[in-house]
């Protein structure tokens, strides 16, 4: 039971019987201002922490010298003293939303700063590659072999499977249309040209962005969280040389091989559909494939692969190195690495297509 009475400038709360937090202390907030509060316990049979939580939440904003609770049971008094010993932190005044122009300006500045940061990172990586050619870059060859193993042989199975399926789908979809003209034999040419010129590289790029680019961002991001990047810096070892360079080399070396594999598997996928579903003889398919194969298309595909490899490494490492210092940031860095890799791959494909077309390749 709770009894509340006002005596002059004091409010006296008397608590009796069972106190378990189910009670209500009905004192209007306005009345609490500038009044002394006295909490008294009389014939309390039992109490629990819930009741202390109720007291705390009712009186937490009362200045310390305005409240006395010395007549409460020992345990309750101590608990309340501990909870009330620190004055609540003043809430920070909410920042008002900046005007439209200021927000646009702020956005523009942050975009410019990101471009500058990204540009510097790319330049740093190029310089690092240059230092490597002069034999001045420091990194452990063991790291290079580890990364190469991860992005090369270990990626072959997934690249093969996806490319095979892409060739299969490409063949199926095109054959349905070409069949209406009785020209399904040209499926072989279509699949060969598509896979060697661009599809093989794009599929490999997307797989590697999701697999390797994400892994680079997560690994380097975690190193940032564990202060390993700071340790490298304080030891005077270039982060770009030590972390980015072996990854660039590994992807530049493995991407052409993976693209070659993707081309082959895509053509094989197309072949399976033609032979099994459209009754095209295997020899015919091979003949048309060989006829339509051009070294120019193949090299364009390999060039795309190299460019994609560079984009994936740079995006993965950039977001890893610029990761924050908590678990969330590693997640964000990984997501950004994959998204930006794919966006830049598409942008570069567009650019390369225009350039190569204008060169007549």
């Amino acid at each position: 039971m709770i009894e509340i009475k006002t005596e002059g400038n004091s409010i006296i709360c008397i608590f009796e019987g069972v106190l378990d937090g189910a009670q209500h202390i009905d004192i209007p907030l306005a009345e609490l201002n500038n009044k002394k509060i006295q909490l008294i316990g009389k014939n309390i049979t039992s109490w629990n922490t819930d009741f202390v939580i109720l007291l705390f939440n009712t009186f937490k904003n009362i200045p310390k010298d305005h409240i006395t609770y010395s007549q409460l049971p020992e345990g309750m008094r101590q608990l309340l003293r501990l909870a009330l010993q620190t004055a609540p932190k003043e809430p920070e005044t909410a920042k008002s939303r900046p005007p439209f122009l200021e927000r646009v300006g702020g956005w523009g500045l942050s975009v410019w700063s990101s471009i500058k940061k990204g540009g510097l990172f790319v330049c740093g990586s190029v310089a690092s590659w240059g230092r490597q050619l002069c034999g001045k870059a420091v990194y452990r060859s063991k790291d290079f072999w580890l990364v190469l193993g991860d992005c090369g042989p270990k990626s072959m199975a997934i690249v093969s499977l996806i490319s095979f399926m892409v060739g299969l789908i490409l063949s199926f979809v095109s054959a349905i249309q070409l069949k209406t003209f009785g020209a399904q034999i040209y499926v072989a040419s279509l699949v060969t040209i598509a896979m060697t010129r661009i599809m093989g590289a794009i599929m490999t790029g997307i797989i590697m962005a999701g697999r390797t680019g994400a892994s680079y961002a997560a690994t380097i991001g975690t190193m940032q969280v564990n202060e390993e990047l700071d340790a490298l810096q304080t030891m005077g070892i270039s982060r770009t040389d030590f972390l980015v360079l072996p990854r660039i080399n590994a992807l530049l070396l493995s991407m052409p091989i993976l693209v070659l594999l993707a081309d082959f598997m895509g053509i094989l996928g197309g072949c399976c559909v033609c032979v099994l579903f459209w009754d095209i003889p295997l020899a015919e398919y091979i003949k048309y494939s060989v006829n339509s194969f051009s070294i120019g298309h193949f090299l364009v595909g390999i060039l795309h692969g190299l460019v994609f490899g560079l984009i994936i490494t740079l995006c993965g490492c950039y977001f890893g190195v610029n990761c924050g210092r908590n678990a969330d940031s590693v997640g964000t860095a990984t997501t950004n690495a994959v998204v930006y890799s794919i966006v830049w791959m598409i942008v570069m494909t567009g650019l390369l297509t225009v350039i190569l077309n204008s060169l007549g390749v």
């Binding site: 202390v52 109720l54 010993q85 609540p88 932190k89 908590n326």
Partner: protein, 256 residues
């Protein structure tokens, strides 16, 4: 009168698969005690803590928590023990994507059916207990290391546990923050009657808060001393304990 033990270990061996780090560990922790598990770096203090909290299995022996044989306990019994235990990890282990209030509210949402308003009130109270009143909406990245530890303690206290384990509470804190945390541990123990089990090698903390202790000795792979740390310093039972408690002073037989 001897207090009933809240945790008891008998011939406990700890370690990882195929590797025993400490063996024949037998000790009792009375209810309401502040119990220190001390020893040099790499002696297995944290492994013992991980074993006692059920994170890794014991390699041999037995231990009882709240009278329940932990190694034979059912999933339900272990869950019940978890509800009555709180752990403060070395780094605070707060979830970085959650505010302090959300961190403290998590065990309450998991184990109780309180309404959101009641949870909010309990969270405010627990944060006030550790001196973080008004910091409900802050993220762990926005507060200092000492505050993170205190917030971690508020989360450990959320369910009014009977036992709170501390893994190196003073690690990474400046002397004042470290002392403040020690004072808070003493206050929590005195006010709530919570049993406190602390794994540490920080001497000031050991002497300031420890009522009882065990010393894990790397050289013999078991407990080589136990008792009140201040008493152990006055009457060191062996060279290892003396050197540990005096930061490496030379031990001579009969040293007092």
């Amino acid at each position: 009168m001897k207090k009933e033990p809240i945790l008891r270990a008998e011939n406990l061996s700890i370690g990882y698969e195929g590797k025993i780090i400490m063996k024949d560990l037998s000790f009792e922790i009375p209810k309401g005690d502040i119990f220190i598990i001390m020893g040099g770096s790499g002696c297995g203090k944290s492994t013992l803590l991980r074993t006692l909290t059920g994170l890794i299995p014991a390699q041999a022996g037995q231990f009882w928590v709240r009278g329940v044989d932990f190694m034979q306990a059912s999933k339900q019994e272990k869950l019940e023990i978890s509800k009555h235990s709180g752990i403060l990890y070395q780094s605070g282990a707060l979830f970085s994507s959650m505010t302090l209030a959300e961190n403290v509210a998590l065990p309450l949402q998991q184990y109780t059916s309180y309404l959101p308003d009641k949870i909010r009130q309990i969270v405010a109270f627990k944060l006030a207990l550790v001196g973080l009143s008004g910091y409900e909406d802050y993220y762990p990245s926005e507060i200092s290391g000492g505050m993170r530890k205190r917030a971690g303690l508020a989360r450990a206290l959320a369910l009014d546990p009977e036992i709170v384990y501390f893994d190196e509470p003073s690690a990474g804190l400046d002397p004042i923050s470290s002392k403040n945390l020690d004072d808070l541990i003493l206050e929590i123990n005195k006010t709530l009657g919570t049993t406190i089990i602390v794994v540490t090698h920080e001497l000031p903390s050991i002497f300031a808060i420890g009522k009882n202790s065990i010393f894990l000795d790397k050289t013999v792979h078991t407990i080589s001393a136990g008792g009140n740390p201040n008493e152990l310093l006055k009457n060191p039972p062996n060279k290892q304990v003396y050197e540990f408690l005096t930061r490496g002073e030379k031990y001579e037989k009969g040293t007092k």
